[in-house]
C-alpha cells in the first residue's frame, strides 16, 4: 500500500465527511423544528422537555453547519498560529 494510495483514501474520507456534515446539520435543524412544533401539542408538564430537546437539535445543527462550513478556514488560520 503506497503513500499515494493512503493520501487518496484519506482525501476520499474528507470528501465524504464534507458531504455528510451539512446533511446532518440540515436534518437536525429540520428535526428540531418538527419537535418544537410537536412540543406545542404536548401536555404542559412535558412541553418544556420537548422544547429544550428541539432547541438543542437546532443549536446542534447550527454548530455542525458552522464548524463543517468553516473547517477549511479554521485549519488555515490554525496552521499560521505558530508561524
Amino acid at each position: 500500500m503506497s503513500m499515494a494510495y493512503i493520501e487518496t483514501l484519506v482525501a476520499g474520507w474528507l470528501e465524504v465527511l464534507k458531504n455528510i456534515g451539512p446533511m446532518i446539520s440540515v436534518i437536525l435543524i429540520i428535526l428540531g423544528g418538527i419537535v418544537y412544533g410537536i412540543s406545542n401539542v404536548q401536555p404542559s408538564e412535558v412541553r418544556g422537555k420537548w422544547q429544550a430537546a428541539a432547541i438543542g437539535m437546532v443549536v446542534g445543527g447550527i454548530i455542525i453547519g458552522a464548524i463543517v462550513g468553516a473547517a477549511d478556514i479554521i485549519q488555515d488560520i490554525s496552521s499560521k498560529l505558530l508561524q
Binding site: M3, V10, W13, K18, L28, V59, I63, A71, D72, S79
Partner: protein, 307 residues
C-alpha cells in the same frame, strides 16, 4: 506527501469534532460535546504543528549541526556514524597489529633448544601472555562489532527520523485514537535525532588511546630484535640462542606488557564508547520519549478518551 495526509486528517478531525459537538448538543450528551471540543482544540494544535513542520525540521537540523564538537559529520547522527566508522577502522588496525604480535608470541613459545638427550622450551612461559592477548583480541572484535552496529544505527537515524518518523508522528497525532502513538513517534524522532547521538558523542573518543596502543604494538612487531627468524635456521641451536639473547636485549617482555596494558586500556575505552555510552544514551532517550509521549499524547479539556 505525509504532510498532505496529515492536513487531510486534521480537516477530517475538525469536521468530526464539529459533528460531535453538534450531535452532543442535540442529544444532550455532555460527554460527546466535550469530546468534540477536545478534538477541535487538538485539531487546531495539529494544524499549527503542520503549519510549522518545515521550520521544525529546519530547527532540529540546525541545532544538530550547530554542536561545536562536530568534526566529520553534517549533524549529530552523521557525526555519530562517522565517529563510529572511524573507531571501527581504528579497532581493526589494532586487531591486525595485536594479531601479528599474538602470532609472534606463538612462534617464540614453540621454539625448542635441542641438546641431544634433552631439550628446553625456554619461552613456554609466554603461553599465558599469548592467551591474555587472545582474550583482548576477542574483546576488540566484540567492540568493533558494536561500533559497526552503532554506525549502522546512526545511519538509520539520519535517514529516517526526520523524513519518516516525524511526519508519521504528526499524522498519528492528528487522529484521536492514535494520539499517543503519534506523540511517541514525534518524541522518538526528536530524541533519536538529537539526544541519542549527543549522549554518545560526549563520551571521550577512544581513538587517541587506540592510536597509542597501535604504536605500542608496532614497536613490538617492527622491532628487528623481536622479528621471527626463518624456519630454515631453527635447526641451528646457536641461531636460536642468539635470537633469545636479542629478545632479552630489547626487553621483549617489557614491550609486550606495555602493549598489553595498552590493549586493556583500549578495550576499556572502546567498551565505554560503543556499549556503555549508547546504553546510557538509549536510557536517556527513552525517558525523553516517554515525557514527550505523555505531553503530546495527553488531552487538553477533560480526560474523555475515546467515545
Amino acid at each position: 506527501m505525509e504532510i498532505g495526509i496529515a492536513s487531510s486528517v486534521v480537516a477530517i478531525m475538525i469536521i468530526l469534532s464539529g459533528i460531535a459537538i453538534g450531535v452532543g448538543k442535540a442529544v444532550g450528551s455532555k460527554r460527546l460535546e466535550l469530546f468534540g471540543v477536545e478534538e477541535l482544540a487538538q485539531a487546531m494544535l495539529n494544524a499549527a504543528i503542520i503549519g510549522v513542520f518545515a521550520a521544525i525540521v529546519a530547527t532540529i537540523t540546525q541545532v544538530s549541526a550547530d554542536i561545536d564538537f562536530l568534526t566529520c559529520g553534517a549533524g549529530l547522527p552523521e557525526e555519530l556514524q562517522c565517529q563510529m566508522a572511524g573507531v571501527e577502522n581504528a579497532t581493526f588496525s589494532l586487531m591486525a597489529e595485536s594479531e601479528k604480535t599474538a602470532l609472534t608470541l606463538g612462534y617464540y613459545e614453540s621454539l625448542l633448544l635441542y641438546f641431544g638427550s634433552f631439550d628446553i622450551q625456554i619461552l613456554k612461559g609466554l603461553q599465558p601472555m599469548r592467551e591474555t592477548l587472545g582474550e583482548g583480541i576477542k574483546m576488540l572484535n566484540l567492540n568493533s562489532t558494536f561500533a559497526a552496529m552503532n554506525s549502522q544505527l546512526a545511519n538509520f537515524i539520519a535517514q529516517t527520523m526526520l523524513a519518516v518518523f516525524l511526519p508519521l508522528g504528526i499524522i498519528f497525532r492528528s487522529f484521536f485514537a492514535t494520539r499517543k502513538i503519534g506523540g511517541f513517534l514525534i518524541g522518538a524522532s526528536i530524541g533519536f535525532y538529537l539526544l541519542f547521538p549527543y549522549f554518545v558523542l560526549i563520551v571521550p573518543s577512544p581513538l587517541p588511546v587506540i592510536d597509542n596502543v597501535v604504536a605500542s604494538f608496532k614497536a613490538v612487531n617492527e622491532n628487528a630484535n623481536y622479528a621471527i627468524m626463518p624456519i630454515a635456521e631453527l635447526n641451528d641451536n646457536n641461531r636460536v640462542a642468539e635470537k633469545l639473547y636479542m629478545l632479552g636485549t630489547g626487553d621483549f617482555i617489557g614491550s609486550l606488557i606495555l602493549a598489553m596494558k595498552g590493549l586493556a586500556d583500549a578495550n576499556g575505552a572502546l567498551l565505554l564508547y560503543t556499549i556503555v555510552g549508547p546504553a546510557i544514551a538509549l536510557a536517556a532517550t527513552i525517558v525523553f520519549m516517554l515525557a514527550i509521549t505523555e505531553m503530546l499524547g495527553a488531552h487538553f479539556v477533560l480526560n474523555v478518551g475515546v467515545v
